[in-house]
Symmetry: C2
């Protein structure tokens, strides 16, 4: 019997559960979540058939989906590997990959683990936001696949393919460096912008309300993201993130200096370069 065990029944774990059920993959779905309310919702929403204790889930599952915050993954992955049988497959869905892969690099059952990052987050969270189509036509990055057993890779491939994701392979170090720029930095930029504006309008909520609609909505969308998810990601990818913030501040200061010096041509060029983001080659 193909038993799917989901550890962490939030947006990502929940969406994987719903997606696999929809594809008729898995005979039974069991799950666990440190948040009781999430666990109850997950059963009600049909994400899993039953909530069972973590230790039982580890022993019973054929495939374990580990979708909790990245610090949690780092912490419990070694002990899960200790306990699983040699044909269990375990995958994680964390947004940073190197610290996790590094942590278990010399574990005797390393090859049962597949490090993945399905790129499909939204600012909403919890099982209530889970959606069987969340991953439709999105990308899934699989890291350091040479250290995973071919059968484990094949199961993981099947799981994500059924949810219509496209697989991309790279090292965990490449992943963490580039994802800092593509995902973690935009979150920081958005949190900082929200805080700047909220501080400025602290005693002027009416003004704020009256002036919304001019671009702040999209740039602060990510500022609605959950601290519980993002704090561990930021800490886990600290070095790359600081590098990216420094590059960003340099880039911002370049604009600021052009503006102070009123270098119209330079500001124009700066914007024209940025316009390339709409280039088909990029997006």
């Amino acid at each position: 019997m193909n038993i799917i065990g989901i550890i962490g029944l939030g947006l990502i774990g929940g969406s994987i559960g719903l997606g696999l059920k929809k594809s008729n993959f898995g005979d039974r779905f069991i799950g666990t979540d440190s948040n009781q309310e999430n666990a109850l919702h997950a059963v009600k929403l049909g994400i899993v058939d039953e909530i069972i204790p973590l230790q039982d889930l580890i022993l019973q599952s054929s495939v374990i989906v580990l979708s909790i915050p990245v610090d949690g993954i780092e912490k419990i992955l070694p002990s899960i590997l200790n306990k699983i049988s040699t044909d269990t497959v375990i995958l994680d869905t964390g947004s940073t990959k190197y610290p996790i892969c590094n942590r278990i690099s010399s574990h005797p059952k390393r090859n049962r683990f597949v490090a993945t990052h399905p790129i499909a987050g939204i600012e909403n969270s919890g099982p209530i936001s889970a959606d069987s189509d969340l991953f439709y036509q999105k990308k899934c990055i699989i890291c350091d696949s040479e250290f995973s057993a071919p059968d484990a890779i094949s199961v993981v491939n099947k799981i994500y393919s059924m949810m219509k994701m496209r697989m991309i392979y790279m090292t965990s170090q490449e992943h963490d460096l580039y994802i800092a720029y593509i995902s973690h930095l935009p979150h920081v930029v958005s949190f900082a912008l929200a805080n700047t504006v909220l501080k400025k309008f602290k005693n002027k909520k009416k003004f704020f309300h009256n002036m919304m609609g001019s671009g702040l909505d999209s740039t602060t969308r990510l500022a609605k993201s959950k601290p519980e998810t993002w704090l561990p990601i930021f800490i886990s990818n600290k070095e790359n993130l600081i590098q990216s913030i420094d590059f960003y501040i340099d880039c911002l200061n370049k604009f600021r200096n052009h503006l102070i010096d009123q270098k119209l041509y330079k500001i124009d060029q700066y914007m024209k370069k940025a316009n390339d983001i709409k280039d088909k080659k990029y997006v």
Copy 2:
């Protein structure tokens, strides 16, 4: 006969033309645009009935809609006021208001002018993007209204109300300060983020393409905006914009320092504060 003259047939001027036609306001629509292609499109799209020379438009129009870049508005507004009759109404749609209002503050026909900012921009531009419903349930800021004649205010109110906008009144100085934070800063933040990422991925377009989808889309939406529109806005609101960029960099540095010092509690608080942006009181 109620003749509407539109100077600048881009997104905003075009949408006003279409909106007024839809509401059956105005007997004839005439327009002009320094870009011949825009002008031709505007006629084809039914935004105006005829393209005529600027000087004729000024003399023939009962209502003049001035929707060109803000530096252009500042430049030609005094000469338009010189030429209009004392019952013509002229309104502008520029994204900065103080330099424009200041420029004509002592003009003998100052009271025929109404300074407005319909907050409804999108990153697309040109008459081809014009939409009669662009302004539906959006806000329109009217500045320094005490210097406009009551009949002129009343006409402008009618025009925007027909397009279902809600009018907000404030001084041009208040407008420019707050719009720097709500609109101009988010554009700078977005341009800078796009440039940071494009630079990092200069020789790695495939990587970039493979990793998109994790939040960069919304934060760089505004980076697709037109330099022709935004360069004059940035220059025109330079002082307020620099103030806002400095506040923003301070705010970003606060996060960066918390991250370097690994002050988990502070980072958590920082994100929780930013989460307030989703508060109903704000949005």
